[in-house]
Amino acid sequence: MAAEPSPSSSLFPVDAFETESTYRVTARKYRPQTFGDMVGQDHVARTLGNAIRLDRLAHAYLFSGPRGVGKTTAARILAKAVNCTTPLDERENAEPCRNCESCKSFEAGRSMNIIEVDAASNNKVEDIHELRDTVRIPPQGAKKKIYILDEIHMMSKGAFNALLKTLEEPPPYVLFIFATTEPHKVLPTILSRTQRFDFRRISVTEIIERLREICKTETIEADDESLLLLARKADGALRDAFSLFDQSVSLCGTPLEGAALREALGVVDTDLFFEVTDRAAASDRAGLLKLVERLMSRGYDLPEFLGGLAEHLRNLLVARSTGKGDLVEATEAIRARYVETARDRSESDLLHLLMLVEEASRNIRTSKHPRLSVELALLKIASLETATDLEQLIGKLNAIESAPTQEQTTSEPPSSYSPELPKKPEKPVREIQVSKAETTDAASEDEPLPFSPEPPKPSSSVTEPLPSAPTTSSPAHSGLFGTPALQITRDPSGDGSGGPEAALAVAGDVAVAIASPGNDLDVPLGRIKTLWPDLVQTIKADRIHVGTLLEMSEPTRVVRGSVEVATPDDFSRKLLESEVVKFSSALSDLLEDKAPPLRFVVDSSSNGEPAKEVDPFERFKQLRHENPVIQALFEKFGAEIVW
């Protein structure tokens, strides 16, 4: 038998056997040597063990996953186990025995049959050609010739193609094991010819367990908090956890303690976040500013602080929604604290805070004064009205409603109750008429609807539903995710026929204004209708095309003191709107009085298309069914249809 040539110079030998060095980093010292040692990858260990045991090995494997989760380690264990010469019956789950010559030679880095290649530096076609040449030679004194190609995604396209042929028709004695952090960069043709294993990130609990074992072996004392901190910072990568552990031990010494470690790792203390929310709840603006000062003096990274704050708020939200702390990644004591704190907060408040933090994190990246952005955000948080306030407000409103008033018949001067309602200037203005409480228990379980405490302006007693009234959305309700992704397509006709879209929009986007009680009868609609042809003539004499468009339009009704004029299409509406001053003066002349303001709307009934005769009550019923806000108005505020 021809002697097997030693792996070429471009091919890496396996880890050189370390004899001289006395100190080895934890990650290397505790690198798993058998399938059983692997942490958090049971699915891989079991499948590979079974494949060896039952002779179901594929000819190529691809191990993918984030860094530090055991891809290369698994490849090495697999290689060792496949070539282990101890009979399978004597090995449980086909684990490598680590005693036979094959296992020993591999661990000592002198195996001829297991060739480890760093594909990141041997990524050229020539390297693969070289590899293909060595593939032709069968293994020497072992079952398989195994190629471990690490970081395979770094190979050039040419190299991939050169490898493809070998993968398509591999000699039966060859086993390829590829490892990569970025499987999407590997050619699909290669991917489809390999058996792929996705390595998962290792859970915090598993990392903590492993760290604890190591602490025990190394006789290092470490408290729970420090282990949790390391595990969380490692972000699912065990190797990172080990490196951090080494660093921490050399930096902070033993025993490892949470506080010292936090300082060393630059992690913002959870207490600080609790302080933020507590101070915000107490509207302690000065305290928050001092807190920022403290952050700066300790040298914390502000974006990281905001990220941590968002995480903190999320934890509060989760604790609030579920009523438990199980889903919060923290020590038991902290979890309990979250549950405790969350009890007094409402979900909508927390959402609002999240929104503000998100806004700040966005600003801070472009801001020249990141500190200012953070301070502003915290001040905003502190001056936030809580939903509890709004709930109280609703309570007061209910009290007013249930009081024996005659506001339905004789519209009471609004000033009589306005002083009771605190002014909330930063809140968006909505016009809502609450006439009668259908349900007296206007419960505050649901989110409170932002509304205006401003007294309605008296104008006329005719009220109209205006589903397409202009809207302003409060930050708390501007869609759960800030700017709504689905822009609501408003129906310009104002007849609410944009139903489904409107209903899809989040509550804050849909404005429902039930007109204020006033005296629209003051507006002489009948006279205006009679004078309309004259007005058209007057305008025509001056500008014929405007006049023609005006002729096609007609005044239909009075809404809050202004006359609504139905126009056939959006173009006409825009053009007529631009001339509205002229019309008003002409109309004033005709009326010999001050003309009421004109409001142009697109009306489908004058659109040339057959207009659908819809019973307004039916339509409102439908709207109520489709639109949760209208529904809420009915249920909680006792709105009713008054036309």
Binding site: Q41, H43, V44, R46, T47, L48, N50, L54, R56, A58, H59, S64, G65, P66, K165, E168, E169, P171, L191, S192, R193, T194, Q195, R196, F197, D198, F199, R200, R201, S203, V204, G236, G307, A310, E311, R314, L317, S321, T322, L327, L351, E358, S361, R362, E445, D446, E447, G479, L480, F481, G482, T483, P484, A485, L486, A503, L504, V506, A507, P628
Partner: protein, 370 residues
């Protein structure tokens, strides 16, 4: 010569029936496999299409049946198109077998051979008219070539031809069950459907997943849904299917727990979150379709066909549909879209927060989250 696994099994996909060379659709994979197994060979085969896996399989069956193992050394040639030239291949096709009944010449990636010298390639047209009867030549194209040009036109006319198209997605679960059966395993419950959903329509990848699953299963003969989930590295409690179920039952806490687990185990968080959104979107699309089915009082099997799930799962969908109701289902799309946009750069939030908010809205009973 290495053989591809799985093809040796005698139970493999055989249903004897006639094989009509002149049919308009060409020879199917099954037809060809059957004739090979019966020892009937034609001198020239021309196969094209996107389903490379079936070509691999066919090649293995041909080699297995046309030649004895000891005849391989002198009578079998597998040629790769990009590395070969027409005169060379033609001369190999024309040569006589050596101490065997026939020669087998397989040209893979025939469309990539002599790509810049089509004139030279046209000689295959002449060969097709008068092929060497002592050889079995199989020309395989990895895609559909222009069949109006030579040599493909001549090949289609004179050779036994077949087109291997990508399998339709709804046929995939059936294919998976069949494949598992051929290897001596049974897919239980919705396991086949689950594999199909998780892997997608590529047969080679699917086949690899099946092999992996078989290795995972070890000695047990039945593959269950649980095995599919475990072999993919998910736990029994935390996987997308369970997440779907939790959302369908409006169980916010559970959904949140699963999403958390999925994200913390994922190699790419945003990738995982997008995958979750994609799966939930498809779930809600099915539920949305189901609402109209339920209104029209359709039978369960018909509904399963209509929304494209196995009848085995349709019960779950119906109950989810009833729990959520049409309004919640419709609103869900908004939340999904918003979350998707945020993940793709619409915000600075981290994935976990986005999913927390999204699930809050999907599971919200009183719309406290909106």
């Amino acid at each position: 010569m290495a053989r591809l696994k799985g093809a040796e099994d005698p139970r493999y996909l055989i249903r004897p029936h006639g094989f009509n060379m002149a049919s308009k659709t060409g020879a199917s994979f099954k037809d060809l496999v059957n004739t090979f197994r019966q020892g009937r060979f034609q001198p020239l085969y021309f196969i094209y299409g996107a389903e490379g896996f079936l070509m691999d399989e066919l090649q293995a069956v041909l080699i297995e049946n046309a030649l004895q193992p000891h005849e391989h050394d002198f009578n079998l040639e597998v040629i790769f198109g990009p590395e070969a030239s027409t005169p060379d291949v033609l001369s190999r096709c024309a040569s006589l077998p050596m101490m065997a009944e026939r020669r087998v010449i397989i040209v893979r990636g025939f469309d990539e051979m002599d790509e810049r010298n089509l004139d030279r390639k046209k000689s295959f047209g002449t060969y097709a008219e008068n092929p060497n009867p002592a050889a079995v030549v199989m020309l395989m194209c990895n895609r559909k070539p222009n069949l109006n040009t030579n040599p493909y036109r001549a090949l289609k006319k004179h050779a036994v031809w077949g087109e291997f198209k990508t399998l339709y997605e709804n046929k995939l679960p059936g294919w998976i069950s069949q494949r598992l059966r051929a290897k001596g395993f049974v897919a239980q419950g919705g396991a086949a459907q689950m594999i199909a959903e998780a892997v997608g329509p590529d047969l080679r990848t699917t086949s690899n997943e099946i092999n992996k699953l078989i290795a995972y299963a070890g000695e047990q003969q039945a593959i269950t849904e649980e095995d599919v989930i475990h072999a993919a590295g998910h736990s029994r409690e935390a996987n997308v299917f369970e997440l779907q179920k939790a959302v369908g039952q409006r169980s916010y806490e559970r959904a949140l727990f699963i999403a958390n687990e999925l994200l913390s185990a994922a190699s790419s968080r945003s990738g995982e979150a997008l995958m979750i959104i994609a799966i939930l979107t498809s779930y809600f699309t099915k539920l949305w379709k189901l609402t109209s089915c339920l209104e029209s009082g359709m039978q369960n099997n018909a509904m399963a066909g209509h929304i494209g799930v196995s009848p085995y799962f349709v019960g779950d969908y119906v109950s989810a549909c009833r729990t959520l109701g049409p309004n919640v289902i419709r609103r869900a799309f908004h939340a999904l879209l918003a979350a998707d946009m945020e993940l793709k750069g619409g915000s600075e939030r981290d994935e976990r927060l986005i999913l927390t908010l999204m699930l809050g809205r999907l599971c919200a009973k009183k719309r406290a989250f909106s």
